[in-house]
Symmetry: C2
Subunit: 365 residues, 2 copies
């Protein structure tokens, strides 16, 4: 029957041509040689501390690697860089797609390098593994900044989980700081959980908005506005200026409804045009006064210590869960317990206890 | 030396009097007899299903017990009750101290029993182990309701963790429902995390407020207002009526700034007086229309399924953490790692990895 099928199929493969020969035979040798020449962690640390971008890029690649050997090397590099890190302002920038994040970062980043700052732009985008790097991936949208020798742009790491992507970005911050970048911008998408992750790794959190048709506050995920230290209404140029000013009023009113922040900082609302550059320098003024105020009160350092603590605990919790949910006996039992729980055949707690007993009894054997 | 100390000490114990003899010798026998008479789980289930309050109270006590044998029996009772549970509306009520929660619940609960409902009032208050039951502990504040044969009032379970207290309350809901209570009120304090826990075990979330001096929205913890399906401005009586109506306007405006809820329900703001009973029946109308709408869209059942799932996962996560943080080798290493992380001597991730290695290596031995 299969023969008949083969004969009658219009889809059968025709005899193809042979694959082309490797045109440059020496390429293989070159690749092998390069592999042997992988720099040691000490060389990478030295490179980073002297501001070498290649060393920085290579080290971030190690951080992003899933290879265990790379992970170990990455840890060595991070620990070597730690004493030289932390001297920076870390700024988180978020906003829904269409708000003009890339052009804003291009304008803001270029302004910063012009006033003598060294700017590193990183990203947290857990969806990037699907979309092949939706943020910062298309570097052509930051034409000016990408050529700027005082700027360093790196697309989001890809990964299965937000936790993984966030960890990689957070470790990359340390390396960028050790390489002398004093202003770290972390871009993220306006989709909720990634904001929380970014918020917990930056000093200042900026929400980018555009003026809409009256419903200025729609489309902001719950809680994101409460995290913002500043709201910037972008695209405030041409016919938009009036609407942007109206939006500014509305946001200001809304922000005053929230309880005071732990930092005692009253979030600011400003307008800005990434095209005309109007309002760009004011954003930096706002960030600078935040920095001054929180340095004076001690909140700045306190928050960083808290963030360090948070990330240690987060990593532990995430790994504990990963270990649990990757056990074959849990995988095989989880779904049916989920269903039973949803259909009230077993209480959520009894189901949890059953699975936990399975996990811990196996471990103690 | 120790002899000298004893002689010179003013704190040495004087010869005391003997403990009084047990006046009623038969009491011990009685206690022993009662212990033998502890009802079986089947008897408790039968009792609960026939609406016996003693059986219900005893079973909740088993849920609250830290004794392992009790916990097993409690699980049997819960699983026996599960098929008869879930036929209720679960209402969460929160508000900062001073807002009049007890008097409100007294008025609202009495209204409900008058229209033929059977009302169970439970509480989630993790601080109750310190304050010996701050909410619902003082039952005299619900004088009427506590005597009402169609109402059942139970103070918050006490416990070390919010997770533990919340679990106990959530399991108690099942028993109350199986005992025929069709309206479950869960009271909590306005302090943040316990709201989230209560929100995840109720169908409808009600925030109780009073009108203040202009700054109506101050003092609400971040996120709590976003969880509310209704905001009730209490103490709207006498001179307060005007201010309460003003507060109503302000809250309404603020609520419209939030993005639409997953349920598509637009939160309502009403005023109410627990003294004059004005506005009490309107609150029930609001809840009823919520119930109707979400039943029609299917959101009601969907949310309950999600909550069941949430509690299973929460329990697993909580137990995984508990197990980790109770290991002697983690306890002995955690603090120094925390300090090193906060002082940037080690990266949060490296510290986490160190602790995790300690935990898992020991486990696999």
């Amino acid at each position: 029957m299969s023969t008949t099928k083969k004969q009658s199929s219009n889809l059968k493969e025709k005899a193809g041509i042979s694959p082309p020969e490797i045109t440059n035979v020496s390429a293989i040798d070159q690749i092998k040689k390069n592999r042997r020449l992988q720099p040691s962690s000490t060389e990478l640390i030295d490179g980073i501390l002297s501001g070498n971008r290649t060393a920085l890029s290579r080290s971030i690649t190690l951080i992003e690697s899933t290879n265990l050997e790379h992970a170990e090397k990455a840890n060595e590099v991070i620990n070597g860089c730690l004493p030289y890190a932390n001297k920076s302002i870390r700024i988180g920038i978020t906003g829904v797609p269409g708000v003009g994040k890339s052009t804003f970062i291009e304008a803001f980043g270029s302004f910063l390098t012009q006033i003598g700052k060294k700017v590193a732009v990183l990203a947290v985008d857990p969806s990037s593994s699907l979309s092949h790097g939706s943020i910062l991936g298309d570097k052509t949208r930051m034409e000016e900044l990408v050529k700027d020798e005082n700027a360093f742009i790196r697309p989001s790491a890809s990964g299965e989980t937000l936790g993984g992507v966030a960890r990689k970005t957070r470790e990359s911050i340390i390396l960028c700081e050790a390489a002398g970048f004093d202003t770290i911008i972390i871009e993220t998408v306006g989709v909720g959980q990634s904001e929380t992750a970014v918020h917990s790794m930056v000093d200042f959190f900026l929400l980018l908005k555009i003026s809409g048709a009256g419903d200025e506050l729609q489309g902001i995920k719950r809680g994101i506005m409460e995290m913002a230290d500043a709201i910037v209404i972008n695209k405030a140029d041409g016919d938009n200026i009036k609407k942007a000013n109206q939006a500014k009023l509305e946001f200001n009113r809304a922000l005053h409804l929230f309880p005071p922040k732990k930092s005692n900082w009253q979030p600011k609302v400003t307008t800005c045009s990434a095209i005309t550059k109007d309002g760009v320098s004011e954003i930096w003024d706002t960030i600078s006064s935040y920095f001054e105020m929180t340095n004076e009160t001690g909140f700045f350092l306190e928050k960083r210590k808290e963030q360090n603590h948070f990330w240690m605990m987060e990593t532990i919790n995430e790994q504990l869960k990963l270990n649990f949910y990757n056990q074959p006996e849990i995988i095989s039992q989880l779904e049916q317990n989920k269903k039973a729980v949803q259909n009230d055949e077993i209480s959520p707690f009894a189901a949890a206890q059953k699975l936990l007993a399975l996990y811990f009894n196996k471990g103690s054997k």
